[in-house]
Every structure is written in structure tokens, then in C-alpha cells.
Amino acid sequence: MESVLFRKKRKKWNARNWTVFIVATLGLVYILVFHYVPMVGLLLGFKDADYSPNLLETLLFGDWVGFSHFRAFLQDVNFWNVMENTLIVNLILLLLNFPAPIIFALILNEVKHMTFKKGIHVVTTFPHFISWAIYGGIIIALTDQTTGIMNPILELFGLSSAENPVYLMGADYIWAVIIISSILKSVGWGSIVYMAAIAAIDVELYEAAEMDGITRWQKAIYITLPSIASTVTVFLLLNIGRLLSNSFEQFNSLQNSVNLTRSEVLATYIYNLSFSARRFGYATAIGFFNSCISLILLIVSNFISKKTTGEGLF
């Protein structure tokens, strides 16, 4: 059996099938040009590149400063605040935003009315296609204290009043706004891959289980979830690898001076250092630091996953 599979694999990648080579080459070129070549720029993190008027020149001929930018970041007055915001928001997102599309896909899988099912999926997928600049603007408008609809809704539940209005874009609530808006924006789109995985499950498994008198809940728990476990594992590992990465657009669009102590994450901090303060070397060092931690997290979580479930990315 193994030798047959091996032969099939070789046949698939045979040079005669030149279209496959071209497509694969394009992908490789893309990764090389846009992901590997820019890594040369990481050298700026070790060079005196702050305020440099010509980064290429600095990259090639600039003075080396060793790990001074990295040391400066660890002593940065905002280090703990930025790291705390980045990690906590991402952990909450991992806990809530990651399972949300899985649960949504499981629920949607149980809907038998196809038109309704498709309708719901289209509606929930739509926000994914709106840019964060627009989506963020909508959220700001909805949470406006005098013209938004959120405060009147909160008032109905006794959570806000004209005398004690809630400012949802303030530091106290911004995490909730970020997390809820993120779930609303991504749940539909994120569920597509799980819906596809569910669709690939052999229907005979369900039919056999039905004959044994299994309930719908038990079907979801004992058949559907285990069948998509490998997909879930892959996405979980990727999400853990992104624990220090946030959607820059999301945070930037919702950030203001009042919530900055809760909304400044590594992505926005690096952006502001690079483009507003023009501290290119320092910002590159922080970005590199971020990437290194993410890589370590990914390797560790992959190791744990392989040890415990046998599934992993590599």
C-alpha cells in the first residue's frame, strides 16, 4: 500500500505536469520575495538606523549597535503595558474568538433548512469583507454617547443612564469592544474551513450512529468534533504562534487617547515608532523580538500538541 502511495506522489510531481510546477514556482517566488527577502531588513534592528534618511544605505553601511535596541526595549517605560495588552487581549481572543467559528460551524451544520443556513452564513461572512477602517468607524459611531445606539440599549438593561453614561470606547471597556467586534467580524468567515471539514466527514458514520440511537448532541461531540480535530489543531497552533501579533488595523482604528493604556499593542507601538517617530532601528528590533517569541511559542505548542494528540504542523 505504501509503495503505491509513493508512486502516485512521484507521478503527481513529474516534470511533465508543468502547470503544477509553474503554479508552485509562483508561490515559492512570492514567499521568497515578500517573506524571505524583507528579512534582510531585520539587520536594521542591530544598526544605528533611527531617523535614517536612507534605509538602504544604513542597511549596507550603517554603524552596528549590537543588542542596544533590544536592551532599550526591555527597559522601555511602556514595555510591560504593551506586552500586557498584547498578551491578555490575544489570550482572550484565543479563548473566545478561536472556538467561536467552530461552535458556529457545528450549530450551522445542524440547521436543515438550506436557504436559511446559507442566508445566515452569507450574513455572518459579510463583515469579513469590510476593512477595519470602515468597520472601526461603524463601531465608533454605534458607541457614540449621544448619537450611537449602544447607550440606549444599555439603558434598557439599566447598565447606562444619562447621568452615568457608559463610554464604551474608554479604557474600561475597550477590550470588550475589541473582542466582541472581532468575533462578529470573523466568525462567519472563520467557520468556512470548519464547514468544509465537516462536509468531508463520511455520512456513513452518522447513519451508523443514528441506527445505534445516538442524539444530535452526541453526534456533534463524538463524531463531528473528533473528525475535524486535525483541522482544529492546525488552526490552534497557528493562533498560538500569533499570540504576540494583533490586527494592526483593528487596534489602530479603535484606538484613542483615552483608551491608549489598554489598546496599545505591539503592532501599533511598532507602527508609531516607525512612521511617526521614525525610530526605524528600534522598531525593527521590537518587531524581531516579537517574531522570535512567536516562533518559540509555535515550536513549543507544536511539540506539546504532537506529544499529546499526535497532531502537529511539522
Partner: protein
């Protein structure tokens, strides 16, 4: 002329050395070129391609300009251009000029002018003060500046009854203020509104209004210009309040001082904290975007607004014209400026921008600097200013002309007060067609669009209306600040730049960047403290942190640059209250409204605009 070492200039034919011949007249008719001009500001509108002004520039100079402006206000595009060595032919920036200069990314204007535009050099050095203000320690001038005018022009303008407006200010709703004044007078007939021209008086007015008009805590009662990390003090509103409270960058001896370290700054922040704790300046007010602020102004929500006046001027107009349908009072409820002192009774000094806003430079990437410098010469000249502000003379083109001379250049006229005035450039007025177009837009004419080298004093000295008064919004822009004119001062003395050739330059920039970023993060937190003592304590902590971050070295370096700048301008003190000879010491506040004699009535026909 100077020795221009260090730059390599292309080998194009030199212009005539006769500097009385306008340089832009010296080009081959068939040699039309195309250039890119990047404006690193979101505030400016770009001239429409094919508009009369743009077409005329092409006709005069043989240059087709592709204008581009920043889409974000954070300098991202410019930074990317600089880093990638991809600067456009002409670049107009609001900050970061020294980095471009130190990186040899731009040509010296004087080097280019010597070769290809001697007439520009004559204009800059003989007719203007731009050179003395902006030349570097080697005598090179790297940028040309808009919104710049000379002392002599200001004097001429004053002869005509005009004066310099402060850049920004504080405005309140007139109906609320009048109601409060009436209330106070009903309590005490001898009370005058000058008595409330202090922080306590204004606070009382705000709390009374909130209560009297039953404004809820969710109402945006006090608004300040939106926070923006690129602003020197986090928000233009904070900057304006600092001016009202007398926080300055110069101490009594004329040395550079860090304004946040002053007692006046603490007092100002404590006052804002009072507003916060009285639910006047809420988190919603502090976190509002400029778009939201504009919307609130348009619906008359704020009792008081502090900060930029030009940006929201369309919304002040909309409020006055009752576009939202919530202002039956019309102009009676207009936002009007107020003036008040700090608790020590120090009268404010509000800055007036006499120096530049946009700094235009010729990039080292420019392939035809010989032609581009001629373009700058044209735009900077009287002929260029005339084109930008007035368009085309009907005497030259009766069919397409947009203005005509009411007074000929050099003609002397007897003014209303009986004095004689000679209009050096003449006096002009628009055709009826253009006047009508001004009520909606003048985009197709291109007038008032190519403002990147404009001299606003030109229009003040040549317009029949005595300035830019072409539509309702222009009047709003004037009236929102006019009554503050006696309290404004020329801030040119503070417009110094850090010397990029100094060894301390980079570390100073880092310190400045760190401190600004930290203050930006802390403003809302400090304002939102529970008590005035907590505010003072938080500020003290911040100053202590700034000292650890290198504040003392930063002050020392700034002071050296500040002193060198003042020396170049021939001034001992930049801050009027420090100067024993300045007119500041005779200033008094006679009314919370300031000097209302500067107000201008909006002509009736401008009020009936379908917005």
C-alpha cells in the same frame, strides 16, 4: 552669493545672471516637462487638473504638475518615500525638514537659484525675511515656506485697519454666555463680564449653563481638538489652553524652558480636571475623533470648544445656518471667542503663525531642478500669488478672466479715516461669476487651491474686502478669532529647529520623541484624576520621568538652538511678557468677549446658500 560645495548640480544651461529678468520666462517653448509634487498634509485641497490656475501655471512655466497629497496625517507616506529614496521632485512637508537636509535628500534653494533663477534669489534675500529666518549655519536655505510674510507687509496691513489673527482659540455658544451674563447682572447690577475672565469665572459659567439648560453628562459640553500623536502637545486644544494659562518655552531670562514643568501648566491641568470631575469634559469628549467633534459642533452640543478654528469652521457655519435643524436661534447662538487669564491674572498671549506651515523642497531625485526652481520662482513672485489668489485678469482675457483691478498698482488712495495708502500691487475684485462660484466651490477656476507657496498677506493687501472674505465660512474663520487679535503675538521667535549637525541632535530627538509619546499617553489619565493634588502629583511624576529620560540635556541643547535662532532674528526675547519693551504690558481685558470691534458682519447674500 555663496560657495555651494557638497552638492552636484546637473549640467543644464545657466539662466541669465541679470536678476531683474524673471527666471520662468527663460525656457524653450517646446520643452514642456512633467513633475510630481507631494504635499505631506491632509489639510490642503489639491488643484484640479485642467483648472484655470493649473493651466496658466503650465502656460507660464512649461511644467505640468502632478500633485499628490498624504492620505494619512501621520507621515507614513513621506517616511516610506524617504526610507526608500523615492522622493518626488518637489516635496512639501510640515515637519522633518532637518532630516531631509541632513540626509542630503534635497538641493539648497540658493544653489539652484544662483544657477537657474537669480530673480528668485533676489526676491528671497532683498524683498523678504525668509532667508534670514530659515538659513542654516552655513548660509544655505533648503526650503521655501508658505504662510510667510514680512514685517513690512504686516505694517502695511495695519495701515489698512487689519491685524494678525491668532492661529486658534476658545469659543463658546453666544446664547449661553449672554444668558449667564444676564443672570449675573440680575444678581448684581454692577457685575461686568470682565469679572468672569478667569478660570473660576469660566468654570462657573460652564457649570451654570449645564444646570440651567439641563444638559446631561453624556452631552459633549466641553470639547477640545482631537488628540493626535503628531501634535506637539498631543492636541491643539492643549496647546491653546497652555497659551491661555501662560505656559511658555521661554523663562524670564530668555532661556529655553520646558513648559510642562511650569506651575502654570499644573494650574491648567488642574482646571481641566475640575471640568472632568464636573462632567463637563468627559471621557467621550477626550476620546472624540475630529469627525465626531465636527458633528457635535454642527448640532450645537458643546458649550465650549478649545483648539483649531479653521478645521471645524464649516461646521460652525452649518450650526449658524441651522443645517441640523437644531438651531432656531441662528447667529444668536453662534460660537464666539472668549478671553480669560490664569488665576495669577496673567493675560494670555495667543500665537499667530507668521512663519511657515508647509516647507517646500527640491528633492535630490529631481531630474530637472533647473526648471523646478523657475516654477518656485513663479509661484513665489507677485505674478504667481496673483494667479493663485485671483486667477486671470479680465483685461488680458475678457472671456475667461476672473478678476479686475479696482485700484491700479502703485496708485494712492485716501482711506476712510482720511489717511493715504499706496497700493503697491493694486486692489482687485472678482467677477460676479466667480463671486457666485465662491458660494459653492471654485474648483474649476482653481483659485485658492494651489496654496503651497502662498503669502496670505498678499490677499490682505490687495483684496477689496481687505482679506479672504469670499463666502460665509471665510467670515466664520475670521469671527471665531478676530476678537482675540489684541492678545495675539508673533511666534516666530519660537520657530527654531534643532541643529542636525550637532552631536546631540539624535539623542535629543529620541528624548523628545519619548517625552512627547509619554505625555500623549498620560494627558487623559492626568485629567481624569480624582483631585487637584493627584493631578499635581501625576505631573511631578511625569517630570521626574522626563528627567530620567534626559530632559536636562534636551533643555540644554534646545536652549543653544533657541538662542542661535533668536540671534539670527535679532531678538532678545521671543515671549512678549518677558520683553519689557513689548506692548504686552499695556494689555488689559475689558470683556470676556475680547475686542468685538474686529467682528465682520456677513453679507446677506452669503447667508442664503444652499449647502
Amino acid at each position: 552669493m555663496f560657495e555651494f560645495g557638497g552638492w552636484e548640480y546637473p549640467d543644464f544651461p545657466l539662466a541669465s545672471s541679470d536678476d531683474t529678468i524673471d527666471s520662468w520666462t527663460q525656457w524653450e517653448e517646446d520643452e514642456v516637462i512633467e513633475i510630481d509634487w507631494f504635499i505631506d498634509s491632509t489639510s490642503y485641497s489639491l488643484p484640479r487638473e485642467g483648472s484655470q490656475v493649473v493651466e496658466e501655471i503650465l502656460k507660464k512655466t512649461g511644467i505640468k504638475i502632478n500633485f499628490r497629497k498624504a492620505t494619512t496625517g501621520d507621515g507614513t507616506e513621506l517616511t516610506t518615500m524617504i526610507a526608500g529614496n523615492d522622493l518626488t521632485d518637489l516635496v512639501s512637508v510640515t515637519a522633518g525638514m532637518d532630516d531631509l537636509v541632513s540626509g542630503d535628500d534635497v538641493f539648497p534653494i540658493n544653489g539652484l537659484a544662483e544657477r537657474w533663477a537669480p530673480s528668485l534669489w533676489r526676491r528671497i534675500t532683498e524683498e523678504g525675511e525668509m532667508y534670514n529666518t530659515y538659513k542654516d549655519s552655513d548660509g544655505n536655505l533648503f526650503y521655501m515656506v508658505n504662510n510667510f510674510y514680512n514685517t513690512g507687509e504686516v505694517e502695511d496691513y495695519r495701515e489698512l485697519g487689519g491685524d494678525l489673527l491668532p492661529n486658534d482659540g476658545i469659543v463658546v455658544r453666544k446664547d449661553y454666555l449672554e444668558a449667564f451674563c444676564n443672570y449675573k447682572k440680575s444678581q448684581d447690577a454692577s457685575w461686568t463680564d470682565a469679572e468672569m475672565a478667569n478660570p473660576d469665572g469660566v468654570f462657573e459659567f460652564l457649570t451654570w449653563t449645564k444646570q440651567e439648560y439641563n444638559l446631561s453628562n453624556s452631552n459633549h459640553s466641553v470639547l477640545i481638538s482631537a488628540f493626535d500623536s503628531s501634535e506637539k502637545y498631543g492636541s491643539r486644544g492643549i496647546q491653546v489652553l497652555m497659551e491661555y494659562f501662560g505656559c511658555t518655552e521661554e523663562d524670564a531670562e530668555g532661556n529655553y524652558a520646558y513648559p510642562q514643568a511650569s506651575d502654570n501648566f499644573v494650574e491648567m491641568m488642574q482646571w481641566m480636571n475640575r471640568l472632568y470631575n464636573a462632567n463637563l469634559l468627559t471621557e467621550g469628549c477626550l476620546g472624540a475623533t475630529q469627525t465626531q467633534i465636527n458633528q457635535y459642533i454642527q448640532t450645537g452640543e458643546p458649550i465650549m470648544y478649545i483648539g483649531k478654528m479653521i478645521t471645524p469652521s464649516s461646521y460652525f457655519r452649518n450650526w449658524e445656518l441651522n443645517v441640523s435643524g437644531r438651531n432656531p436661534g441662528g447667529e444668536d447662538a453662534a460660537y464666539v471667542p472668549i478671553i480669560f487669564t490664569n488665576k495669577e491674572g496673567q493675560i494670555p498671549q495667543l500665537s499667530s503663525r507668521t512663519s511657515g506651515e508647509l516647507f517646500t523642497m527640491v528633492s535630490a531625485n529631481c531630474e530637472r531642478p533647473d526648471r523646478v526652481i523657475k516654477l518656485l520662482d513663479f509661484l513665489y513672485s507677485e505674478e504667481g500669488q496673483r494667479l493663485v489668489y485671483y486667477g486671470i485678469d479680465t483685461a488680458e482675457d475678457p472671456e475667461n478672466g476672473t478678476f479686475y483691478y479696482v485700484t491700479q498698482p502703485g496708485e494712492t488712495v485716501t482711506l476712510e479715516d482720511g489717511t493715504q495708502h499706496t497700493y503697491k500691487y493694486g486692489q482687485m475684485d472678482y467677477t460676479e461669476e466667480v463671486k457666485t462660484a465662491f458660494q459653492t466651490n471654485v474648483e474649476s477656476y482653481g483659485i485658492y487651491f494651489c496654496m503651497f507657496l502662498c503669502n496670505p498677506m498678499y490677499v490682505n493687501l490687495t483684496s477689496v474686502s481687505g482679506g479672504q472674505f469670499n463666502n460665509y465660512r471665510d467670515y466664520v474663520k475670521w469671527n471665531s478669532r478676530a476678537a482675540l487679535i489684541p492678545y495675539s503675538y508673533d511666534k516666530r521667535g519660537f520657530e527654531f529647529r534643532l541643529d542636525s549637525s550637532d552631536d546631540r541632535y539624535k539623542s535629543s530627538l529620541t528624548t523628545q520623541s519619548n517625552m512627547r509619546s509619554q505625555w500623549y499617553r498620560k494627558y487623559a489619565d492626568i485629567i481624569g484624576q480624582e483631585s487637584a493634588e493627584d493631578v499635581a502629583s501625576k505631573i511631578a511624576d511625569m517630570i521626574a520621568w522626563c528627567k530620567r529620560a534626559g530632559l536636562d540635556e534636551y533643555i540644554a541643547f534646545n536652549n543653544d538652538c533657541f538662542q542661535a535662532h533668536k540671534q539670527r532674528l535679532g531678538m532678545e526675547y521671543a515671549w512678549a511678557p518677558n520683553d519689557p519693551d513689548s506692548a504686552y504690558h499695556d494689555l488689559i481685558i475689558t470683556s470676556i468677549y475680547g475686542d468685538v470691534s474686529y467682528y465682520k458682519e456677513v453679507p446677506e447674500y452669503m447667508k442664503n446658500v444652499n449647502l
